[in-house]
């Protein structure tokens, strides 16, 4: 018998927490994108766990769409990082403070 769903749910929650902590503390835009990927993967793991527990394929279909959106997000995000780096020669998000009052 497989391990209970609770173990995977706790693992996913901890992974989400690690990703959120990294997103809040790291200042490099590239690392922040990686932390977003960590959080998305935690959500995917939760979806798959619920899908297995409830014998419902919809959870896995949702993961499929999350992956597509994540791929699109990374593409556009890294394009923005490249464009910002051209102007500032830095990927630190602390440099982007023009709108500060």
């Amino acid at each position: 018998m497989n391990v209970p769903a609770a173990w995977y749910l706790v693992l996913a929650a901890v992974l989400f927490g690690i990703g959120a902590f990294g997103l809040l503390t790291r200042r490099s835009a590239l690392i922040m994108f990686m932390c977003v990927e960590l959080m998305l993967n935690a959500v995917n793991l939760t979806f798959v766990t619920f899908s297995r527990t409830l014998s419902d394929i919809s959870g896995q279909a949702s993961v499929f769409f999350v992956m597509v959106v994540a791929a699109a997000e990374v593409t556009v995000g890294l394009g923005i990082v490249v464009a910002v780096f051209r102007r500032r020669s830095s990927t630190s998000v602390d440099e982007l403070s023009e709108l500060k009052g």
Binding site: L9, A20, R27, L38, R52, S58, V69, G79, V81, A83
Partner: protein, 188 residues
């Protein structure tokens, strides 16, 4: 006691995936070199793929490896090396005083509260699907997922196709160097 309740292989697989996921995730947020962070991200993604296989999501595990580890992380590495930021970053200084303490406290409180909330009620609530057969029967996870994506979620599937096209066009537009700017740089 645990071994009598659950199969030993299942526990071993869970522990393996948990170690891969957590060590990789901690590596992503703590290492100085962005290239090493990307390698740690691959480790986490691989651990998630192992967890997918253990929960009979075979197709998603394959997609996880191909799309995430194969395409997204390679894109990360390409941008890191393209920009030349693959040197060590300063991670010891805190730009905002007390930022890490506050972020850590907030995250710990949120995650602990979430886990407590789930543990004090049922972990999984909701009706078990009666239309489809159980996923664990092993009869074609790909077939089930394909049927769901191309019937129930057909509109969402078509929308993602449009989304991917828009993302590609947007990325090309963002990363394109303006022709006029290039001429000015050359003349200057």
């Amino acid at each position: 006691m645990l071994a009598t309740t659950y199969a030993v292989p299942a526990i071993l697989v869970f522990v393996t995936s948990a170690l891969l996921i957590l060590v990789g995730a901690l590596g992503v947020i703590s290492v100085k070199n962005p290239v090493h962070a990307a390698i740690c991200l691959i480790m986490t993604l691989f651990g998630v793929a192992v967890a997918f296989v253990a929960q009979s999501a075979d197709f998603l595990a394959a997609v996880q490896i191909i799309v995430y580890a194969g395409a997204i992380v390679v894109l990360f590495l390409f941008v890191i090396m393209f920009l030349g930021v693959d040197r060590n970053m300063q991670v010891s200084v805190e730009p905002l005083v007390g930022q890490r303490a506050f972020a850590g406290a907030g995250v710990v409180i949120t995650v602990a509260g979430l886990i407590t909330l789930m543990a004090t009620s049922h972990w999984v609530t909701g009706a078990t699907s009666v239309s489809g057969s159980a996923l664990a029967t092993g009869q074609g996870n790909v077939k089930q997922l394909g049927t769901a994506v191309f019937t129930t979620y057909l509109f969402a599937f078509e929308a993602t196709a449009a989304l991917l096209i828009i993302a590609v066009v947007g990325a090309v537009l963002l990363a394109r160097r303006e022709r006029a700017t290039t001429n000015e740089e050359v003349s200057a």
